[in-house]
Symmetry: C2
Subunit: 552 residues, 2 copies
């Protein structure tokens, strides 16, 4: 009877697919609700209803010729129909391609063509944006329009079909196919500041595991007692996984539709009493300002997740004091599905010390592994001091890009995040710079962001951007580009002296340019590529101070 | 550039293994603690320490000749060393076989031989139990003893090695192998009341997914703010997955060692202030009774999970009123890893109605799917009325047994749980009987358990067991076997009349046997097989009342 040496696992082969999430949500939590803000109020449907409509949508798309692994684009706000596409498209075996409605025309054309979208589901109100480029789309065969079309809209998108008419022509009871967990479920393009956007293709498995991990107490601790206000756009990184996490646990979903501004969010919160919400820091900052002059009741919220860029501690602090709800930082990128780290203070932290931890980038969420590497690819210690590039791996981290070579973005199978920072002994990541902006000087790294933050603490400085420029002796040295406030004056010597008590001596810039304006990218970030080009072309008014840096 | 029809997922191939849980816990939560109750107090180690010791254990086992897919048995209480084996054995590629220290000698011999255990790690205090059968073990090459051996212990297990000496001879820095997620990680035998025990072999993937799901807000909502008091034996169904869930989120673990009785648990809770605990209902019932005459402080607990058998509502109610902590029912079996369902009331339930839901078996946890089948294998509706056998599937549900045929336990790939009950439209399962005990009469099913519960409500009844017996007209009819309290009398007519206002008329038994004692199994359950045999042999004093059942 001895079986030593031949033990095989007896577990079932059960694929991790969005189809399970759909079945689970629509049966165990059939009564949970999906609500969308309208101009008049709220429209609402049960999970069971949404699942039935997703089935009709799948049938309609199949009738339009969509087959497994075909791409179906969505071009819309956050609403019930977008959620229906989130389930219908992957569960029929096709690939959901969420399109960023804020992309420049050229980029949008590129991603729709490169993704190979065959059908695009578009909000009626967004038809004018899409009509601009429809002539350049090489694969799109059909447009399906959500919402009431105005007169003339159909002429902008000839042949467009009405979403509700398509659903009405189908019947309930879609017979979903069985899918492999490794099959493609959805696609999202990164919007890097350099080069063409690159497509990340999520698998059913990665979507499942990411959403399941979000439900954990180590992340958002979601349950059927929650009502999730989804403000982060569904066209960014699959809506942060929340549309799927909600169905795993039966949490209600509430969508702002196109009303994702303070007035709309305030109205939505009052009407639906959400317990949980996600959005980028700007949204919370705008809402906080709005609430200073309007009555805003966010008392139903137990937690807010903010990501997309670092959350200023002052915002977290003021938001909690006014609204009694804590903003928690989550970190990630399109390539990491996106949630890779969450920043909770360690247990036992004194109340007064919590912000020290909460202001950090976060600890890796279970499933995700981080490591820190220097320029040569050597591993660096988790000591909170060594600075290197963060690399990530895990079941919801991408290992390549759709149909392009991107070898330098990966290192022994790990994703190079392009973010530079430290990791401390408790696993807390602190990102200090983008890798392309870090200043590499004499074998050490200077954080451009920290220099900028220090400079902007000077009363005369309105804006400051620091970039690395070639230096014969040190390889690179910082160039500080400073915009002074109106009616103020400050000499580089004075600014440098101000800095000297705030950063290490060898960080102090020799090169200074007092300029009128710092060039910005389309999303409002400093355009450091442009600054470096201006410097290289001799087009900045650079003053050079004596170097204070010595060999260390 | 169009890529329509050829989209492949770009996600990394990252295996779901216990090795990730070990890495995650020992780096991100290096400072979390593992504590074990001793006769004198608490001994404690950090996750980082435990991980290092697990590495030494793996090196020592390898030196003893343990190779990948070899089985290593554990025969011990809940303590730090048992946890070290939970990580060392699967992460080195071998298979952890947790042995139930309460098994009969014959069953224990069978499972150690059938599992093929090559090494057994045994608590010093349990050596006498194991020494009884050591001569019959065909594969065991070495015993490794945890804890101080008394004099004479070594002579009971010749050649036994000391755990701490083995670890001391190795060095830190184990180089763990890369494993496939489908590989065998651990094994546990079911202890069915019929036939030989059957081995369930968990994979790394199933252990990972089960533990991750336990962290969800839909289950236990675990986080690094938790401290888990693990009272449920680590030799049952992999300690309910909690040793792994704790490391995914950084929750402290506290173990009672051999002191899992009310006095010990009370002392452990006072010393460690746990927030969460798991155990079978008897433990909580004993602790509640103990706290009536002793000072017991459980105020640190936020949630208690109870499983293994149905939790009486009165126990939940009294426990919450005395200790301010809620007992939540979880349902599962060795074959389901074990957690398959958890019973939280739906949101919006009025406080007075919560027990109605909490007393149910529970709703399926995400990842697990249930269906309800009749005798012929047809699907039954989720209407809360139709009664059938519960079938389960999912990534942590077994699809076979180790090295035995068990075809009738599976149905189209689903596990037949052997439990009979209903599922309501919200997915709440209510188990009413074991399939083998349900009484099938005229095409309908009668719950033996409900009849027993109703009978035991009669003041004269001490115990009642109801079994199905052959009936010419109806196929089967209930036989009620009743033990009356001392100094009471009651005739079958009176008991039947008492029942008639409590159950459907067609459930009323015609056959009655007033007996002295109901035969019990080794774990104290009614031995219905023995009752049926007594009846078949004419060895019960059966009285027959006129049938009240009519064709319906």
């Amino acid at each position: 009877m001895g079986k030593g040496g031949s033990v095989q696992a007896t577990m079932q082969q059960f694929p991790l697919t969005i189809a399970h999430i759909l079945r689970h949500g629509s049966t165990v939590y059939a009564d949970s609700r999906v609500s969308t803000l309208t101009g008049e109020g709220i429209r609402s449907a049960s999970f069971a209803d949404v699942a039935a409509r997703a089935g009709r949508l799948a049938a309609a798309l199949r009738r339009l010729g969509v087959r497994a692994v075909d791409c179906v684009g969505t071009f819309g706000w956050n609403h019930q129909e977008h959620l229906e596409a989130y389930y219908a498209v992957p569960c029929m075996g096709a690939v959901l391609h969420t399109l960023n409605i804020r992309l420049f025309t050229d980029q949008l054309t590129y991603v729709i063509n490169h993704g190979g979208d065959k059908v695009v589901i578009v909000d009626a109100t967004l038809i004018p944006l899409l009509a601009n480029l429809a002539g350049d789309l090489t694969n799109v065969e059909r447009y399906v329009v959500v919402g009431e079309m105005g007169k003339g809209d159909l002429s902008l998108l000839p042949g467009a079909l009405r979403y509700e008419e398509l659903l009405a022509a189908e019947e309930d009871g879609e017979d979903w196919p069985e899918l492999e967990e490794s099959s493609a479920a959805a696609m999202c393009y990164t919007t890097g500041t350099t080069g063409d956007p690159k497509g990340v293709v999520y698998s059913h498995r990665s979507v499942f595991l990411h959403a399941l991990s979000e439900c954990s107490g180590a992340a958002f601790g979601l349950s059927c007692a929650d009502r999730i206000m989804l403000v982060n756009p569904m066209f960014h990184a699959m809506g942060w996984g929340l549309p799927y996490a909600a169905w795993l646990v039966g949490a209600d979903l509430v969508f702002p539709g196109p009303y994702a501004q303070p007035e709309g969010l305030s109205r939505l919160a009052a009407l639906t009493r959400p317990t949980f919400a996600g959005a980028v820091p700007t949204v919370w900052s705008d809402l906080l300002r709005y609430s200073e002059s309007h009555s805003v009741d966010l008392s139903s919220l137990r937690m807010i997740i903010s990501g997309g860029s670092a959350v200023p501690p002052a915002l977290m602090d003021r938001f909690e004091r006014r609204h009694g709800v804590r903003i928690v930082q989550a970190w990630g990128m399109t390539e990491t599905s996106p949630v890779a780290a969450v920043s909770f203070p360690p247990p036992g932290t004194a109340a007064g010390d919590e912000m020290t931890w909460r202001a950090k980038t976060g600890r890796p969420l279970h499933g995700v592994e981080f490591r820190l590497c220097d320029d040569a690819g050597n591993l660096l210690p988790w000591d909170g001091i060594a600075v290197g590039e963060i690399e990530a791996r895990g079941p919801w981290v991408t290992g390549s890009y759709h149909a392009v070579e991107a070898g330098e973005k990966f290192h022994d199978g790990w994703l190079r995040t392009g973010d530079v920072g430290t990791i401390d002994p408790l696993g807390f990541v602190q990102i200090t710079d983008r890798a392309k902006d870090v200043i590499k000087t004499g074998g050490e790294w200077i954080s451009s962001v920290e220099l900028e933050n220090a400079l902007m603490g000077h009363p005369a400085v309105r804006e400051a951007a620091v970039v690395g420029v070639v230096d014969e002796r040190w390889g690179e040295r910082p160039l500080a580009c400073v915009v002074l406030r109106d009616d103020t004056t400050a000499r580089p010597e004075e600014l440098c002296s101000f800095l000297s008590s705030r950063v290490a001596r060898w960080w102090l810039p020799e090169r200074w340019a007092l300029i009128e304006v710092i060039p910005k990218t389309s999303v409002g970030k400093f355009d450091k590529k442009a600054l470096r080009a201006l410097y290289a072309g001799g087009n900045l008014p650079v003053e050079v101070l004596p170097s204070l840096t010595k060999a260390r």
